[in-house]
């Protein structure tokens, strides 16, 4: 399992009620089910990923986070997880609002466009950065709304969204990924 998932799993509490938005093949959900909380379910767009989740015995709903989060009542989950997909939504602001409405806390990770490799790439090569975390070219990237850790921090500050992780070890310059625990 990728390191990011271990870090996310550390942030959820025992036996809490969790929704994994864009749960992929269910790797993170499986780990959390087996180690932290059985009360977890996922939403996923890809039919083949859903098959993989069902094989693992996970509860998954086929759906699109931009449309299908509205069916969940306010504060119906202790944690809502969104791993590295915020930047791919047409309307990330709406999705973030929904996450904070249905979850008491939202755990959001973003690929950091402010990482030094990204900055260096653009500075020296003058082309759109392609890195391990951002492997696509400009013309086929699913990422519509790239931001930096600093951008995301500013966004939350402007909207009074609390970033509820005191020992934040993520730095705009050194971290390829930002993981945030958000609360409205």
């Amino acid at each position: 399992m990728k390191k990011e998932f271990y870090n996310i799993a550390k942030l959820v509490t025992q036996n809490s009620k969790i929704l994994d938005v864009g749960c992929g093949n269910g790797e993170l959900m499986k780990y959390i089910t087996e180690n932290i909380s059985k009360d977890i379910r996922g939403i996923e767009l890809s039919k083949s990923n859903i098959q993989k989740c069902v094989e693992k015995g996970l509860t998954v709903i086929e759906g699109n986070a931009e449309i299908d989060l509205k069916q969940f009542p306010d504060s119906s989950f202790d944690f809502v997880i969104l791993s590295q997909t915020l930047q791919a939504f047409l309307d990330p602001e709406n999705v973030l609002n929904e996450l904070l409405r249905i979850g008491k806390k939202a755990i959001v990770s973003i690929p950091n466009f402010g990482h030094w490799k990204v900055r260096l790439h653009l500075l020296l090569k003058g082309t759109m950065p392609v890195t391990e975390n951002l492997p696509n070219e400009w013309y086929n990237t699913p990422n519509l709304h790239m931001c930096t850790i600093k951008d995301f921090g500013n966004y939350c500050k402007e909207r009074d969204i609390k970033i509820n992780l005191k020992n934040l070890k993520f730095h705009n310059f050194y971290s390829e990924l930002g993981i945030f625990v958000l609360e409205k």
Partner: protein, 373 residues
């Protein structure tokens, strides 16, 4: 009915109050079982059949000598694995495979009920079948499963008996029969009733059969079970055993010949009045009605884990209607999974060899079963 002499049935002695107000008792409920009930009676699955199905879901139907309607899904090692689970299937009341139906003899008139048979509902069907749990002394079913009208029965079952099934798989169904589906059913009924042999429903006592009307009803319905793409791929404009058009009303096209064949074999195995009664039951189905239009309330008391399945090319019970059930369950925080299976086989996909569908059912059942053991 003598042809049903050797099939399994229970006689439900307890009075059952039907939605129409009538009370029935001492009525037959025909069933079949597959697999073995384990010692702690924890591996039982009740499956519900669709409009023209029956209790013979797997193997060979001993009455029609045809394959069971769910041979792809049900059997040893299959999606619903009868090496592992004990599967019960009953014929719905109103049906024509041995359960209490309109061709039964009325004790009052000594003639077949015909259209004197009471109108039945999905709720009545489910309440009748609940008696099988008592008969087999099953405290809680492992699962309730059904497609189309069978799916409606699944929903009704969980609503009526919220803690009698660990899991439920409603497939390609709806919680509330749509105007389009009522319209299509009415088309079938009118076709039967327009047949001069129907005789207001008392055809049996006159040794007549409204075969033509029933065949046309089946032909129309059959189209709705397929998809435009599926039909085009299978038949296109292919001609039936001829090189060119005959400039007549013969079945020039393969699709015509196919539909005529489907209609003709259907009348050999299905009763016209049962077709009227069962389609009526589907039309009356609206699980939200009792709950002021709020479907969530139908499931409020339930702990059942749902898995809902729809098919991309099903325009009869489209994904949107299946998704409405998902939404209603999510609104009250119930455990529900959902997937739309990619298939061009239309509504009939759930009866056919659609590997993604069969694997989904299999994986959901087997992983859920591990959790309750």
């Amino acid at each position: 009915m003598s042809k049903f002499k050797d099939i399994k049935k229970i006689i439900v002695e307890k009075p059952l109050k039907l939605d129409c107000g009538q009370i029935i008792d001492n009525f037959p409920l025909a069933y079949e079982t597959y697999g073995k009930l384990n010692n702690d009676r924890s591996n039982a699955i009740l499956i519900f059949h669709a409009l023209t199905g029956d209790q013979f879901a797997s193997g060979i139907n001993p009455i029609t000598k045809k394959d069971g309607w769910w041979n792809y899904a049900l059997g040893p090692g299959k999606a619903i694995d009868t090496d592992k689970y004990f599967v019960i299937a009953a014929n719905v009341i109103g049906g024509c495979m041995g359960s209490f139906g309109p061709s039964d003899i009325s004790p009052d008139t000594k003639k077949p009920y015909g259209t004197n048979f009471p109108i039945i509902t999905i709720n009545d069907m489910v309440n009748a079948q609940y008696n099988l749990l008592e008969y087999f002394k099953i405290e809680k079913l492992f699962s309730v499963i059904g497609g189309s009208m069978g799916g409606m029965q699944v929903l009704q079952f969980v609503s009526n008996f919220p803690n009698k099934a660990f899991t439920a798989i409603p497939i390609a169904c709806t919680a509330s029969h749509s105007a389009q589906n009522i319209a299509l059913n009415e088309l079938g009924r009118q076709s039967i009733m327009a047949d001069i042999n129907w005789q207001d429903g008392f055809y049996e006592e006159q040794n007549k059969q409204p075969d033509k009307g029933l065949a046309v009803a089946r032909m129309a319905a059959h189209i709705t079970y397929l998809s435009k793409v599926g039909l085009q791929e299978k038949f296109g404009r292919k001609l039936q055993e001829r090189d060119d058009l005959k400039f007549s009303f013969d079945a020039d096209f393969q699709i015509e010949s196919y539909l005529r064949y489907q209609g003709s074999v259907f009348v050999d195995r299905f009763d016209a009045n049962s077709y009227l009664y069962i389609t009526r039951a589907m039309d009356y189905f609206d699980l939200t009605k009792k709950f002021g239009g709020n479907l969530s309330k139908a499931f409020e008391k339930s702990n059942t884990k749902f898995f809902i399945i729809s098919f991309t090319s099903d325009w009869l019970y489209p994904t949107s209607e299946n998704r409405d059930i998902v939404i209603a369950l999510n609104a009250i925080g119930k455990n529900v999974g959902f997937v739309e299976i990619l298939s061009d086989k239309g509504h009939d996909s759930f009866l056919l060899d659609v590997p993604d569908f069969l694997n989904t059912v299999k994986n959901f059942l087997n992983t859920s079963y591990k959790k309750i053991k």
